[in-house]
């Protein structure tokens, strides 16, 4: 089976700066991978490259079977992935429901998907009709996450998803990630919250200086994660 992400010696330039300096990474469909590394290591760039936002200037970069060197393919892959970045990508003057509906429909979701996403993030009550500008930072993150959920993406790219969320929000996020993985989606997760993220992902990839310096698939923390996974998918929260 074709891997969800297949990077070989992939180089991504930000201007003239090689943020990715030859990354080798293969991720199979359904895997949950934690990306680790110091600030400026290239984690965000790796996620943005996988999302088709940045072109790989050399090496091989295939995501969900699309060759990212080609502009048209890069555009095609975007319909199938969801990226939660540092910015939330929300319109301040629109309500929570308007935002989720717009970004969801743009990704091919229907009204039921949008309603389900709002409900999944606990945004279907009073908050739905509040303008995003009046939300707290954590509520903004939840709304952005609802947009990701509504897209029903095959590849989830989460950049510091735990940042800004309260304990309940983090539990909800972990739950959603496990659900998505159980439903067959691939998840790439960049995080500094190692204790939380480590429990989510069975595979840890460390990036430094724009290259992969360590890839531990069966690292020490992995076995307990795998044992706890079926329980979480079954519906009981942590």
């Amino acid at each position: 089976m074709e891997p969800a992400v297949d990077l070989r010696a992939a180089v991504t330039l930000l201007g003239r700066f090689p943020a990715l300096a030859g990354v080798d990474l293969r991720v199979d469909a359904g895997e949950v991978v934690l990306l680790r590394g110091p600030n400026g290591a290239g984690k965000s760039t790796l996620l943005r490259t996988c999302a088709g936002l940045l072109a790989a200037s050399s090496g091989r970069a295939h995501v969900l079977g699309h060759n990212l060197a080609d502009g048209r393919e890069r555009r095609a892959v975007r319909r199938r992935v969801a990226l939660l970045g540092h910015a939330t990508g929300l319109y301040d003057d629109l309500t929570v429901a308007d935002n989720v509906a717009f970004w969801g429909r743009a990704g091919g979701a229907d009204d039921a998907d949008v309603a389900a996403a709002l409900a999944a993030l606990g945004l279907d009550g009073r908050l739905a009709s509040v303008a995003v500008a009046r939300l707290s930072a954590g509520q903004r993150r939840r709304t952005a996450l609802a947009c990701v959920v509504a897209r029903r993406a095959e590849l989830w790219l989460l950049d510091e998803p735990h940042a800004g969320l309260d304990a309940a929000g983090r539990d909800l996020l972990d739950h959603l990630v496990r659900d998505a993985a159980a439903a067959g989606a691939t998840v790439l997760l960049a995080s500094h919250e190692l204790d939380r993220a480590a429990a989510l992902a069975a595979r840890h990839v460390t990036i430094a200086g724009g290259v992969v310096v360590e890839d531990s698939r069966t690292a020490a923390p992995a076995p307990p994660t795998i044992q706890s996974l079926p329980v979480a998918v079954a519906g009981s929260s942590v």
């Binding site: 936002l53 502009g71 910015a87 990508g89 319109y91 003057d93 308007d98 717009f102 970004w103």
Partner: protein, 226 residues
Amino acid sequence: MSVPLLADSRLVAGKDLRLEWRSRVTTNQVAPFAILVLVLFGFALDADAALLDRATAGLYWIAVLFSGLLAIQRSFAIEAVDGTRDALRLSGLDPGGIFLGKSAAVAAQLLTLEVVLLGGVAILYGTDLAGVGLLAATCLAATVGIAAVGCLYGALAAGLRVRETLLPLLLLPVLAPVLIAATRAFEAALGTVGVNGWAWVTLLAVFATTYTALGLACFGSLLEDS
């Protein structure tokens, strides 16, 4: 091929108009500014009725261009905050559809402004609004052209630190033929000058078609690489 394009453009136009409906920036800021420009022209021309009567068509379209500039800047300012531009690229929406949608939303706001301004010149300058068919056709053709070029340059300048100063420099020379043609057509409609107004409307339509086609072809690359 064409159906997703139109569906995407409807979605984007709907989003922009809903955003305007909720924020009321055009209604509460741009429209009063447009009327203010008319009043200032009145001061500058010493409220001379004969002079204002002759200059109405030109002053009207200058007011439209200036307030249109604000509407276009607003339309792309909302795409420049908190990663919405990335989100738009990532959304998978057809770039041509985004272009058509944003142009349509800008055009709808401009047409509203133009109706307000027509009321403004009728009241402030005592203009007798004759030749309604020609006036409407001129407004429609000119507006589509302004919105198309505006969205192209708006996307190009969005996100630049110098966008407020760059956009007028880029946009106004390109729109010079629109100003000439729309003013002449208005003069014909208002009976100020005896020219064939419909010929000028044709020129406006050519302008609108050309830039809409160029926008459909080029908007994707602008959204992509800046």
